[in-house]
Amino acid sequence: MKKVWFLVLFAALFVACSSDNGGGDNGSDNVDPAPVSFERGAMLENWADNIIIPSYESFTAELSALKAAFETFKTDSNEANLTALRASWLSAYKTWQHVSLFEIGPAETVGLRLNVNIYPVDAEKIDGFVQSGSYDLTLSSNRDAKGFPALDYLINGLGENDTAIVSKFSTTEKDGLISYIDVVLNDMETLITQVISQWKAGYRDTFVNNDGASSTASVDRFVNDFILYYEKYLRAGKMGIPLGVFSGEVLPRNVEAYYKADVSNELFLEGLAGVQNFFNGNHFQKASSGESLASYLEALNTLKGGEDLAELINGQLNAARTRVEALGSFRSEIENNAPPTNMLKAYDEVQRAVPLLKVDMVSAMNISIDFVDADGD
């Protein structure tokens, strides 16, 4: 009898405590993970030296080219120079899509992503600033009046056509517009310069040397950032939110590069390519590659339903790309179709990669997801 009581008591304790162990129930089988011949450090090195830093360098060069194109437009504000300026803007914007996912360390410190690319842009606020000439673009509350979306408005949205836009730069507003664009471009340059110099001045080593396996190790942290990027900024920001997946009503005004109107797909596809290149460890703008999440999964010999998980993920990302490539511009898909069925189908295809990354991949790597949807207040 006594023994039975003890067992009951023990069982009661077990029940009482089990809910505390929600996050750590892998504690006991975690102690001695199966030996795998995969060096996390080598992967971090590949990420830093062959992907992240070269992407930042390329983006910096693109920004310089954009500034040069604006200098040319400034001295001679004609339609040809506007076209050239716009091409530089698009080229830099596309390269940005390969940089945006690296929101860790120096980029996180300066809040790079949300300083460079919050959309929709607040055009009314920009108009007010241009008129008054009084603004501080370093303020958090002005992030929706700068970066690429502000430039989108200023070079694509000021008039019905190029003639109308160029004419804005020959009126009394000219000086205000020119100096506003200058401030926007300089702000972007300042931020990226800070980020890249910190990577080179020490953060690269900090990042690469933190090669353990814990919630504060570089791989665990960056995999979280990577999945957050895919889920929130690529999937939701570029497609789901304008589609009204979360709000219940379509929001065409929320597509990326709203004023340019026909490049939001291209920008999305660049972002998707950035994600897939990173997943496969492809060296930035090169044919070579190195250790990656894909090679890590292969080293772990991770299967899902008998199939190679890395291949499944690549297959899913390819399927998503095919769907999105077949679409018209996001803005026209949303504005001209009710409901925008084809784009919703493409969104579903993009979404299907989320559980593969967020559940299957991370559990194979023993990484826990530490982000949750924000409170919203």
């Binding site: 304790l13 405590c17 996050g23 303020l139 992030r143 504060t216 942290r221």
Partner: protein
């Protein structure tokens, strides 16, 4: 076999250790439901009945499907005064972001006088209700405690004044340690004091306690109010208030209900749209969303419904038993959210790149919920879970790790506060943190 036994022991050790760290190792045992010990414990919903282990409580009062009650074919449910105050609260919160508003204007909204044009909503202007008159104003806690009532109202007026005098002038200044201004929190921008406090959050979350919890738990659900004067005799005889379709006792209970569900689209079925206001309703919804506490929203609603049916059935024991359930569960909501925000704030600060904006937002919400703890009510007692002096001590601790308040707060402080709060409730810091 030996190995197995050993690992069994090791696991057992782990379990004991994890319980000890929660500081309630031994105390867990009496919490197990015992269906014949004469006290309400475990998940029993009455003394030695209800819950998952004991038989159902015999009430003789049937719990209706929805919160709708009628007399002579017409509804007897009314809580317009509560709805009005919740709407006033929303407008006041809006004024915290209107840099053109003055201290006098916002304080006049708080202490609205009938006919004054304090609000956008004309119905609110016409109302004779105000929030400040019901702030720290319950019969049980404040009828003979004018001193604390005065201090608490001064806190709310102080947060209004500080927002206008400290934060508005620095609206377009980047905040830093010791300087009020704005700071990024993800895509949002927060406006904080030199100490890192968001006064609108203090006001909002503080009012959840000082207005909604205090009025519901310590006033309208109190026998001192429900049974005042000839309320019992009138309810027994079905004597309604003059020109009204309800007895006074029915109405008092509904007024408690209104502070919890006053803005839900269908007041008969309020859990269909939990989160309809920015006050208690929203945070019952948030706690319901945490799997550790799923079901709490229904427990609160069921108790309100059964208690109201008990008044109709003139069964005041059942009524009071439901009031106790409501007191316990709503007090838990306050404790859970206080800890939740302290821990969220800690997480935001402990990252490699500390997220100060996110942390200050969380900790400001946490500040307001800690403030609200003094209005909670321990079931079966006339006491809050934490006395005002204890709450004041917590809030001092939160801000005194350095000269710049939240800019200097240490993780150890946030953990110590979380543990101190959890110690008096039946849940753990870990459960509340998620």
């Amino acid at each position: 076999m030996k190995k197995l036994a050993f690992s069994f022991m090791a696991v057992a050790g782990l379990i004991f250790t994890s319980c000890d760290s929660d500081d309630n190792g031994g105390d867990d045992l009496p919490l197990e439901a015992t269906c014949d010990d004469g006290i309400m414990n475990g998940d029993e919903t009455g003394i030695d009945c209800g819950g998952s282990n004991c038989g159902p409580c015999e009430t003789g009062v049937e719990n209706p499907d929805s919160y709708s009650f009628e007399r002579n074919g017409e509804s007897t449910v009314s809580f317009t005064g509560q709805t009005t105050r919740l709407l006033m609260g929303d407008e006041i919160l809006g004024a915290f972001s209107d840099v053109s508003a003055t201290v006098e204007q916002i304080q006049a909204m708080f202490a609205h006088q009938e006919g004054e044009s304090d609000f956008e909503n004309a119905d609110l202007n016409a109302s004779d209700k105000s929030i400040s008159s019901k702030t720290a104003a319950s019969a049980d806690y404040f009828s003979s405690n004018a001193v604390d009532q005065g201090l608490i109202r001064a806190d709310f007026n102080g947060w209004i004044a500080a927002q206008v005098e400290e934060v508005f002038p620095n609206w377009n200044v980047a905040a830093e340690a010791g300087t009020a201004g704005q700071i990024a929190d993800g895509e949002s921008t927060r406006y904080i004091s030199a100490q890192g406090l968001e006064y609108n959050q203090l006001f909002n979350k503080g009012l959840i306690g000082a207005l909604t919890v205090d009025q519901a738990l310590n006033n309208y659900l109190s026998p001192a109010v429900l049974d005042e004067g000839s309320n019992v005799a009138n309810n027994d005889s079905g004597t309604t208030e003059e020109d009204k379709n309800y007895t006074t006792m029915e109405h008092k209970w509904d007024e408690a209900y209104g502070y919890v569900y006053g803005l839900n689209a269908n007041s008969a079925d309020p859990n269909a749209d939990l989160g309809a206001d920015n006050f208690l309703n929203k945070y019952i919804g948030r706690v319901e969303g945490d799997t550790d506490f799923a079901g709490i929203a229904d427990e609160i609603f069921q108790a309100f419904k059964l208690g109201r049916a008990a008044i109709v059935a003139m069964d005041y024991e059942v009524r009071d038993a439901q009031a106790e359930i409501i007191k316990e569960k709503i007090s838990e909501v306050i404790g859970i959210r206080a800890i939740h925000y302290l821990q969220q704030g800690k997480n935001a600060l402990s990252q490699e790149t500390p997220d100060f904006g996110g942390a200050f937002h969380d900790l400001s919400e946490g500040y307001g919920f800690i403030y609200s703890l003094q209005f909670t009510r321990k079931a079966g007692t006339s006491e809050p879970y934490f006395a005002k002096s204890e709450v004041d001590g917590f809030l001092t601790d939160l801000l005194d790790d350095g000269e710049n308040g939240l800019w200097n707060v240490q993780e150890a402080t946030l953990d110590a506060l979380s543990n101190a709060i959890a110690d008096r409730f039946e849940f753990t810091v870990e459960q509340a943190a998620e």
